[in-house]
């Protein structure tokens, strides 16, 4: 990959991290506040998802319609809703509810050198390596 493209990927990553921090998704109290439907419910995560899904979905529609044919874009895969997906998503949800971190915010909090992230991220890496070792890296 050319240096210019890599620089733009650095920018994309930067925007992503900036978005996570500005939105408050790096604050576990805000994430758990959203997940706690019967507590003092915090709607912030819904606003984040709505904004991100709308921009990404519309952007992909526009790109597919107007971008050059040389641009290869991933499509909505026809991968099945199988046992692997259901069990994996459930285990992820369990961990997300326990810690209030999903992968993006966990990595972002490394940028604040927070003890929670410094512990969570290596544990997450071990979990990933185990899943990939026993079930393959690609579903």
């Amino acid at each position: 990959m050319k240096a210019g493209k890599l620089f733009l990927l650095l920018v994309a990553g930067g925007l992503f991290g900036c978005g996570l921090a500005i939105s408050g998704m790096t604050d576990p109290a805000r994430v758990i506040g959203f997940l706690d439907l019967l507590g003092a419910w915090d709607p912030a995560l819904l606003f984040v998802m709505a904004g991100a899904v709308a921009v990404y979905g519309l952007g992909m529609l526009v790109l597919r319609r107007f971008a050059s044919r040389n641009l290869k874009l991933p499509t909505a895969s026809s991968s099945p809703i199988d046992r692997r997906l259901v069990i994996g998503a459930a285990i992820f949800g369990l961990g997300w509810g326990l810690g209030g971190f999903c992968p993006g915010p966990a990595l972002a909090n490394l940028g604040g050198l927070r003890a929670e992230a410094l512990l969570f991220v290596p544990a997450m890496a071990i979990g990933m390596l185990l899943a990939q070792r026993f079930f393959g890296a690609d579903s």
Binding site: I22, T26, F47, L73, G88, F92, G95, G127
Partner: protein
Amino acid sequence: MDHYTLLNPLIGGILIGLASLLATVLSGKIPGISGVFGRLLVLATPDPPSVAAATYGVAGKTWRAVFLLGLIGGAALSFALWQSAAIFRPMRPLVVMAIAGLLVGFGTRLGGGCTSGHGVCGVGIGAKDSMAATLIFMATAMVTVFIYNRAIL
């Protein structure tokens, strides 16, 4: 942006959508954070060499590492610039965070995605498997929080 308002999550969400879009165009892949990080950890793969080189070789590793370094740097910069972005209220003991990390890592790689890959990108392009995964992890996370906050705290 010293004070947090509902504009924060809206602006942040739009930035996350734009960042994902840019990374999709540049990489030709769905840039979900768990998939990007997980594939960065793969040192040996049973895939055929042609597939393996593009994803797990130097080229595949470089763009993934650069993207994640950008994410960490962008967050660090935001923490320094805006008080509203720097808010961090710990909720769980560190031992619980370690267990949660293991489960999140294992579950996202088994289920093929996390909040970004399935939740933002997959749902954004209308992928049925991503919609199912998102409903499942949202529901199990909500049940987990309900039980933890009432039974354990």
